[in-house]
């Protein structure tokens, strides 16, 4: 169970002790979830109102913006941490809207290359600018000198969770 701060084995604890032990972890999880939901729902609302766009569509464009020569379709689910099946209709619509192209590779016809169009780049830049400004606005009241510290903590948290996920 690897609860470093406790030496007593879990099996020796009664229900109340165990619940108390889980409390700190649960509290951290609930705070994390609350912060993310709060920001995410506001960003989603603004994307819809200002650009009639959704976050997943923006996320796809954000990935392609860094890849001038395009990206193998299969890279997207990995980078965006979503399932492959999920992306199919999202990519379909971005193609239909003219923001990206999808072309089959000549070397391997299972593989498709997606690439942003000029139109896509144009709208992405506008949205990215607003996205940055919205975040700046939402996070303005958080002390600037504590940004880096919090980012560092979250980096470590992420690494710790990744490690824990790889163990079994």
């Amino acid at each position: 169970m690897a609860l470093a701060k406790e030496s007593t084995p879990v099996s020796a604890k009664n229900e109340t002790d165990q619940e108390a032990e889980y409390r700190a972890q649960t509290r951290l999880w609930l705070r994390l979830l609350a912060c993310t939901s709060l920001i995410e729902s506001e960003l989603r609302r603004r994307f819809r109102e200002e650009f009639d766009f959704t976050m997943p569509r923006f996320d796809v464009l954000a990935q392609l913006d860094r890849e001038p020569s395009g990206l193998v379709l299969g890279e997207l689910p990995k980078r965006l941490m979503v399932s492959a099946g999920n992306l199919t209709p999202i990519v379909d619509r971005l193609v239909a809207d003219g923001y990206i192209t999808r072309t089959a590779s000549n070397l391997d016809r299972r593989v498709q290359i997606v690439c942003m169009t000029v139109e896509g780049r144009k709208i992405f830049r506008r949205m990215a600018k607003s996205h940055g400004a919205w975040l700046a606005e939402l996070l303005a009241d958080f002390p600037a000198d504590r940004f880096d510290g919090l980012i560092g903590e979250l980096d470590e948290l992420k690494a710790a969770v990744r490690d824990a996920l790889q163990k079994p």
Copy 2:
């Protein structure tokens, strides 16, 4: 724009400066999102595999567990930060499965009271225990002495975002 750390008005900055300024906020946001997604998807997977349950269904039971006398249906969307329409099918299914009851109030027939059943309480306790253990497992590699600090930072972050949202 309220970027406290900078005195130069945004309008006076060129595009590159502005992008640099947004970077810290964006990085924080991406870390937050990554941590939450990582944990959330693992919890969802385990809920499904171990209990054939989803997180929203668990979340509803978690709210009702604290309210022995039941809860006005309209309280759930507020507490869970989801839309009211979203809850209708979730509550429907929990009622159909026998984990909660839904009864119309006699004083105001628009209002419904939802209340956990004995069966619901039973399954909730089992799931809550696993939920705590899963979190403890996922967060085990994060230094125990930094939990409270991170929770505190996230509390402040949440408050800051809430403040920013109320301003307009």
